[in-house]
Each structure stands twice: as C-alpha cells, then as structure tokens.
C-alpha cells in the first residue's frame, strides 16, 4: 500500500475492501476525535480518576441519562476497537512478510477483538448495580 510521510496512506484504487478500510479510518477517526477526546476530558479532568469507583459507574449508567451514556460508551467501544484493529492490520501488512505468519497474527487479532467487543458490549447492556 502506498504510504505517506507523517502517517496515513494514499487512497487505494477502486472500491474494494482496502478502499473501504481507508475511508473507514478517516470517518471513525473524526468520530473518535469527538467521542474519545471528550471521554478522556470528562473522566480525567471533570470527574478525576481518583473519584471513579463502582458507584460512580452506577450513577452514570443507571442515572437519568443512563441509556444515553450506555449508547455513548457502546459507540466509543465499537469505533475505537474497529479503528485500532484495522490500524494493527496495517502494521502487520507492513512488517510481517511471510503469508502464513501474517494470516495467523491477523486471525489472533480478529479473535481477540471479537472477544473484547463482546465483553465490552455485554457489560454495557447488562450492568446492574443491584440498587446501590
């Protein structure tokens, strides 16, 4: 793939998987620019890491705006993981030359991200503090 100075790739030709992946990285990048940066700002500067505990999460996910926060966190989870795994795939394409090893590493990455996205979605949908 055609790499550029300072990161990023030239848009791949055609309308195949690589062209879609290229486009997805730009779109999800802009989405994450909002979602992830606001999440970091909110959790680290408004609330503060030292103030986060089980009750803080319960207050967020079970409060008045709970459903919206769960939706927000689900979007962040899906976009961040998909963006990250595709970026990891680019690194593998660049550095792992042997086809067998490349396929094996990609498979491990996909399986791990499937497990992570399932675990994350599971807790976002099922979290119940039991009324603390």
């Amino acid at each position: 793939m055609s790499r550029r100075e300072g990161g990023g790739h030239r848009r791949p030709e055609g309308s195949g998987f690589e062209a879609s992946a290229w486009f997805f990285m730009r779109v999800s990048g802009v989405v994450l620019l909002g979602l992830a940066v606001f999440h970091l700002f909110w959790m680290h500067f408004v609330i503060g890491v030292e103030n986060i505990d089980f009750n803080a999460v319960a207050g967020r996910w079970e409060g008045r705006w709970g459903p919206l926060w769960r939706l927000y966190d689900l979007a962040l989870l899906v976009f961040a993981l998909a963006h990250g795994v595709n970026g990891f795939r680019y690194v593998l394409e660049d550095y792992v030359q042997r086809p067998g090893r490349r396929l094996a590493l990609k498979s491990i990455a996909y399986i791990l991200s499937f497990l992570l996205i399932s675990a994350g979605a599971y807790i976002i949908f099922t979290f119940d503090s039991g009324g603390v």
Binding site: G6, V30, G87
Partner: protein, 134 residues
Amino acid sequence: MIQPTNLGPRSWLSYRGGSGYLLWALHRVTGLGLLLFLALHIVDIFLLSFGPAAFEHLLVLYTSPPGRLMEIFLLFGVLFHAVNGLRIIVQDLFTKSWERRRHDRLIVVQLVVFLLIFLPAAWIMFGSFLESLS
C-alpha cells in the same frame, strides 16, 4: 515517500524520509499503545460484572503513582494521534498540501495546537501524580 520495509530491525530505528517520518513513527507507536490500553480498559470495565470489590481492586492500578504517570502518556497518545490523524485527513482532502513547504508549515501548526492543549493538561495530571505520592 517511504516505501514498505523489509530491511530488518536496524532499519526501523534509522531516520528515513523528511519531516514527516518521526510523525509517522509516532502515529504508529501511539496507535499501538492506545490499542493496548483499550484492551486493558475493556477488561477493567468488564470486571464490573463481578461486583464492586473486583472492579475497585483493579482501579488501584490507575490511582497509584505509576498509574498517574501512565495517565500522562495516555493523554500524550490520544492527543498526538488525534491531532496528527486530523492533519492526515486534512491533507487527504487538500492534496496540494503534500508539497514540501506547505507540509512543513502544517506540521508546525499541528505541533503548536498539540502543545497548547497537552502542556496545561499534562501539568494538571502531574499535580495529581504528586498528590498520589503523599
């Protein structure tokens, strides 16, 4: 243009290309770091399903002094990756900007924006680190 490499580990450390090479390398390193943190973060949130004790047990990782220092690295990674990624998107839309002089000027803008946000925020986080020591 930097070509895909097959030159072995030594070439990964040598400086190739122009002003964009360091940014390219940092984009990769921060990206991989963020992916690693994301995995850890999903695991710690998943621990919520085992109740308060299990969840809060792991949170010590983040409120301890080393955790507070890592927080600054996290901020660096997120901000750098965000600002650099935004520049890449802008340059994809305006292809003229790949011309060397414009490219270098954009990089200066990017670094100023990054530092204007990073330095005060990191200063606040460094304060939390000092507090966590006492």
